[in-house]
């Protein structure tokens, strides 16, 4: 039978499986931020008047350290606000009066969410909502405000 002239080689097969799946897993986990559905997170939501420029996957910082990412950005049609879901590393809880603000890294860099912990004794459980928020700062608006205000004088 010439249909299968080659001998099977378990080592070569195993090598392909190992290397290929390993690379795929590395790409997905390290680069793609794919979360295992069983992984535990500390999830919080925050409402912003404007989440302009923020995108899913943007990082979340506390004290300058990356502690999670933006999992989803939704629109609340009843209150005309954006609802941003933050997925943080588990193992801690933020005080209830923490402030979430959308910031820009550098002058024209990516938008990210910065959380400033407050001092309240109560903490936010997973799934809780950060009440105190600051929306994105629109650099263009700031600049035009500056230009036109100084032009008035």
């Amino acid at each position: 039978m010439t249909a299968e002239p080659r001998s099977s080689n378990p080592f070569a097969l195993g090598l392909l499986m190992l290397a290929g799946l390993g690379c795929l897993a590395w790409l997905a986990l390290r680069l793609g931020d794919w979360q295992s559905p069983f992984a535990r997170h500390y999830e919080l939501t925050a409402r912003f008047v404007s989440a302009s420029g923020l995108r899913e996957g943007a990082f979340v910082e506390i004290a300058g350290v990356r502690v999670g990412s933006v999992a989803a950005i939704a629109f609340d049609s009843a209150r005309y606000e954006s609802v941003v879901t933050l997925r943080l590393i588990p193992g801690f809880e933020l005080p209830a009066d923490a402030i979430a603000s959308i910031r820009t890294s550098g002058l024209i860099g990516d938008k990210f969410v910065r959380i400033t912990p407050g001092g309240a004794a109560e903490t936010l459980p997973s799934g809780g909502e950060i009440v105190d928020t600051e929306s994105s700062i629109n650099i263009e608006e700031l600049i035009s405000k500056y230009i036109f205000e100084s032009g008035d004088q």
């Binding site: 249909a3 080659r6 099977s8 392909l16 290929g20 799946l21 795929l24 996957g57």
Partner: protein
């Protein structure tokens, strides 16, 4: 399938081409119909995966590293002009994972394994081994085509992942050696730039390309009913590679447009 097109009137030529396309479509439908039936005989599947996949691994590593290094050099220049060379890792990773990885890996596998598949099947057709199988009541589609199709579909995504990782390693190496960057910053930048959708896109592309390679290469070999000798076998292989290359590049555009 055998037509030189010169001596024929254009209408008949067109008719024959359309009939050829239809035959390829029928071939695909028939293969898909027998796909689940015999569980594709694990041993033969393993053999074909080794044949199509494992033997392309070295090639993927070398080609991937070269492409990654090239991208790193080219994109560093472009990014410096826009003042953001720190995005190098993200730029290389995006180009590799979304576009170049799936396409180049598919083209390399097509050149190495696809042409071989066509030649092998066409050779069997020319020496009437396929007819012999049918005489023995063995379905050549289930026996020959299914393991090869599945092996392509299993191997190519794995090879593409290998290509991507080799490319990132090559890119990081160039950024360390030529631009005195740091490998971990390069990978961090890549991790920040890439989202799960990019990886899903690359994976989808490589699955589709694998199916295309298997379909066109096997179909061209199988349908070469009037094959008479070695010359015809080589002609059919060349045909298959040309058609599959165009199909891969065309589909790549479509998938990119649909998924981004």
């Amino acid at each position: 399938m055998v037509c030189d097109g010169r001596s024929m009137n254009p209408l008949r030529y067109l008719h024959q081409r359309i009939a050829g396309l239809g035959a390829m479509g029928l071939f695909l439908i028939h293969v898909l119909r027998v796909l689940p039936a015999p569980a594709a005989r694990a041993g033969m599947l393993a053999k074909q995966i080794v044949h199509i996949g494992s033997r392309s691994m070295g090639l993927m590593l070398i080609a991937g590293a070269c492409v990654g290094a090239m991208l790193s050099v080219q994109l560093f220049d472009t990014l410096t002009r826009f003042g953001s060379p720190s995005m190098l890792g993200a730029a290389v990773a995006m180009s590799l994972i979304r576009e170049l990885g799936p396409v180049l890996a598919a083209l390399i596998v097509l050149g190495r394994a696809g042409s071989m598949l066509t030649a092998e099947i066409a050779g069997m057709r020319a020496s009437q081994q396929i007819d012999a199988l049918t005489c023995m009541a063995i379905d050549p589609l289930a026996y020959l085509m299914v393991p090869r199709l599945l092996a392509c579909v299993v191997s190519l995504p794995l090879l593409t992942a290998l290509f991507d990782v080799a490319g990132l390693a090559g890119g990081a190496l160039v950024s360390v050696l030529s631009f005195s960057g740091s490998a971990s910053l390069f990978i961090d930048s890549a991790a920040n730039g890439i989202v799960a959708d990019d990886i899903r896109m690359g994976l989808t592309k490589s699955l589709v390309f694998a199916a295309l390679i298997a379909w066109i290469c096997l179909g061209k070999g199988y349908l070469g009913t009037a094959l008479r000798g070695t010359e015809d076998v080589s002609r059919v292989s060349a045909d298959a590679v040309v058609i599959a290359s165009i199909a891969i590049l065309g589909t790549d555009y479509l998938l990119s447009a649909l998924m981004s």
